[in-house]
């Protein structure tokens, strides 16, 4: 008992409001969503229990399949590119700009790249929607640069729309990994990089093998959080394309929104929501397990 070094217990009461609120606002509604996913319900008449047929329907539902397929493509713009770019930019700012041009210059760049992160995604979407219209700024820039042939209907072309949304995502996301990695570099053990340099390792080798290696915990957190964020993408799509053209930019959140609030297919929407939740939870558990095992292996 005393090993828990609690101050004579009695702290549980402080947890009560929080737990109660969680049960009412999160756990209860989530369990209800899972239950509703086994019913046919339009939100008005009493729900009818239909077993797993919503899930069976989804297996061949083109909207659902497209939304998941698109999500996997979006991982590129939400996770892979921002993490790599963020790592390179943070490395540049920390180990090159800060020593050569002063920490204030580095902070200025860091703040600048971070700026989109403080915007509401929906507002960022309106900004980009404005720029990407056929007679918008991007096509004007291309024409001015003599590249008029490259002008496109960025959001209206089903082959391009998803990539246009992804461009906006990279722009929006980049600040998050940059800031986390920059902070990580600040707590890094400098003697290791110096030793590597003295041993004649090239700057690039040092960066990959020493610097990146040391901030693995932060890379892990960034990849985990941005992967989860990818499965939650909603506002960008809602504002820019409403899932279109066709199913080109459908994502699960948007599809559940449609089912819940426009098509009155609450059961089907709940099944989609349940699947997304299970996927997100699996991703989180796998990531955390992986990290825990790696830490353990390192300690042994």
């Amino acid at each position: 008992m005393s090993r828990r070094s609690s101050l004579h217990g009695g702290y549980a009461i402080f947890l009560l409001p929080g737990l109660l609120a969680f049960l009412v606002v999160i756990v209860g509604p989530f369990l209800a969503t899972v239950a509703i996913s086994f019913t046919k319900w339009n939100g008005v008449q009493p729900p009818k229990w239909i077993g797993p047929s919503n899930y069976v329907t989804l297996l061949s539902d083109p909207y659902f399949l497209a939304s998941f397929q698109n999500t996997f493509v979006l991982l590129l713009a939400m996770v892979v590119i921002p993490t790599i770019l963020g790592l390179l930019l943070a490395g540049l700012l920390y180990s090159f700009v800060a020593p050569k041009f002063g920490p204030k210059t580095a902070s200025f760049f860091r703040a600048g790249f971070y700026l989109p992160q403080v915007m509401p995604v929906a507002v960022a979407g309106v900004v980009w929607g404005w720029i990407l219209t056929p007679d918008g700024a991007l096509n004007s820039i291309l024409q001015t640069a003599g590249l008029g042939v490259l002008a496109q209907n960025w959001l209206g072309n089903p082959d391009l729309a998803l990539f246009s949304v992804m461009g906006m995502m990279v722009w929006f996301q980049i600040g998050f990994p940059l800031v986390i990695f920059f902070t990580a570099f600040q707590r890094m053990d400098q003697t290791l990089t110096e030793a590597a340099a003295l041993d004649g390792a090239s700057g690039w080798q040092t960066f990959i093998h020493v610097t990146v290696h040391q901030i693995r915990p932060e890379i892990f957190v960034v990849v985990l959080m941005t992967t989860i964020a990818t499965f939650k993408v909603f506002a960008q799509v809602f504002v820019l394309t409403r899932g279109g053209p066709g199913t080109a930019t459908y994502v699960p959140s948007y599809y559940t929104y449609l089912n819940f609030f426009q098509k009155d297919l609450v059961g089907l929407g709940s099944a989609v929501a349940t699947i997304v939740t299970v996927v997100v939870l699996i991703v989180a558990v796998v990531f955390i397990n992986f990290q825990a095992r790696r830490d353990l292996a390192e300690e042994l």
């Binding site: 609690s6 969503t33 090159f96 915007m119 995604v121 309106v126 900004v127 929607g129 404005w130 800031v179």
Partner: protein
Amino acid sequence: MGSSIAAEGLSVHPTRKPTRGNHMWSGAMRVVQAYGILLGLIALLFVVFAPFVIIAINAVKTPTDLAANGPLSLPQNPTLDNMVAFWNAVDFGGALRNSFVISLSVAILATILSLLNAFALGIGRVRGAVWFLVFFMLANILPNEAIVYPLYYMAKFAGLYNTQLSVVIIFTVIQSAFGTYFIASVMRAFPREILDAARVDGCGKVQLLVRVVVPIMRPSLGVLMVFAFIWTWNEFYLPLVFLVSNAQYTVPLAVAATQGEHMMNESQVAASALLGVLPCVVFFVLFQRTLTRGITLGSYR
């Protein structure tokens, strides 16, 4: 290519590196490289800022000017008409007020709730504290759609649909899921001697929380409030579901409302985007240090 040059500087004292060849030549090359990289970064930063700049110049451009000279020219006779038209069409002042009230309420309430949870878990170390933390963390990553419909149904039933209170309650709980995790992890490093001293002095738990823990935790609580405020301000999905009348709109809803509905011309849409961006620029300037220091959200080692 640029990145390998970048990594050159990785050692903090590049001069200590064994250098080969002509010193003066490589010195000059280094200066050229340094400024080349700086220019590259400036160009990249310009690309990041470009959308804001384009929106800003077009927000003050008359529709005829836009039609005649396109989106890249500077405004010929700058006007606030577009912004005024949008402001009045959606009652943007009301939206600002709604967003502010909701975000501030959530920031305060979520911080209090997180503090209470974290006090029990981080300081009190109640039985199963780790599992409670995992529980709060999983709650934090749950997608909105996993809870939205039952909440919508409950809100309608309780008469809270289309009220700010409904959104405040929900976001207080959601933000405190992260907050509990964040504050509890900071609290784990709380100096035990102080707690022991307080106990010896016969300090009750409420007193301990209010008089001892809160003053010491103030910086972390401040960080949490800033993040909870901005995250709530920026939310979209749940406000879209729960706040359906113009009078209840938050800023992102008011700005997004112009999309697709053809009541606004292109200039007014640019004006709406600019008005949506401006409050966040203010927050950014106010809280820049807090925001960009990058609390390593839950890297908990």
